[in-house]
Symmetry: C2
Subunit: 136 residues, 2 copies
DNA sequence: CTTGACTTTTCCCTTAGGGGAAGGTGCGAA
DNA sequence: TTCGCACCTTCCCCTAAGGGAAAAGTCAAG
């Protein structure tokens, strides 16, 4: 085998996964990546296995999962257990969370639209100083 | 006049504004409230003017404004200038931000719903270990 | 030899406060 | 008087997911 194998430094691995080097160090620090092997000069050395792991992390992030949830999934997989039912439950919870967030934002948007309509139609001279601003 | 005047300590002011004492200290520290007068024992002493200022902060927060934006409004008012046109612009920007956030969450919701539908229908045995989890 | 690109670690920054520690103050009850 | 309780003070660490920057080491090319 070659002297250096398929040495991939952090920048290249990050580029391959569409992330930054900082993110990779952060994931390692927070247990989403195992401690990377180091080359003789101390540089992190990644394999294609790490790259696919990073791909999964990216897909999970794109689905709005928190790093802690992604870490759970990875932990199950690392334990040799299929995380599929757990992932299904996480996705169900994520759907409920998203529905709640959307409902909240839609309600806030309606309220802000009302304030803005009043502000757009009001006479700027009518502002009550004691209230700081009458539009809110 | 009475010895203690209308002394209102931080806890009572916070209750009156529907906040916590921590929030009031935080607002003072970050320039949304002027440095409170202190009583002889070092306790902060608030007036009704502060309470109405806190009410405005709460209304601004309820409208989804950031503390930095609320601070700008308060600064204008403190300068003697009516903040109304600025508030109107902030509300317009807030509307645009909310629309963007809602669109993003709705798109994410659709994607997650798709993942979840696949996960709910799939055979858990079919999960591909190399991909960590096939549902995402 | 030097320059430039890459890496390492470490520290501070972001939002809007929350939690808690350690200690001071004032009032009523025992 | 002393205890307990409620309240206050400052100080420090914590959140999520990294970003920015500093200081320093490594390596290949010009």
């Amino acid at each position: 085998m070659g002297k250096t194998g398929c040495m991939v430094r952090i920048g290249e691995a990050a580029r391959a996964a569409g992330m930054t080097s900082k993110a990779l160090r952060f994931y390692e620090e927070h247990g989403l990546l195992p401690a990377a092997k180091r080359t003789a000069n101390g540089y992190r050395d990644y394999t294609s296995e790490t790259i696919s792991r990073l791909d999964f992390i990216r897909r999970g992030r794109a689905a709005g999962l928190a790093l802690a949830q992604i870490r759970e999934i990875l932990f199950l997989r690392d334990e040799g257990r299929a995380p599929c039912t757990h992932v299904r439950d996480l996705l169900a919870g994520q759907l409920a969370d998203l529905d709640a967030q959307i409902a909240e934002l839609v309600a806030l948007r309606a309220a802000v639209a009302g304030y803005h309509a009043i502000a757009a139609a009001a006479d700027p001279e009518a502002c009550d100083a004691a209230r700081i601003c009458s539009y809110i």
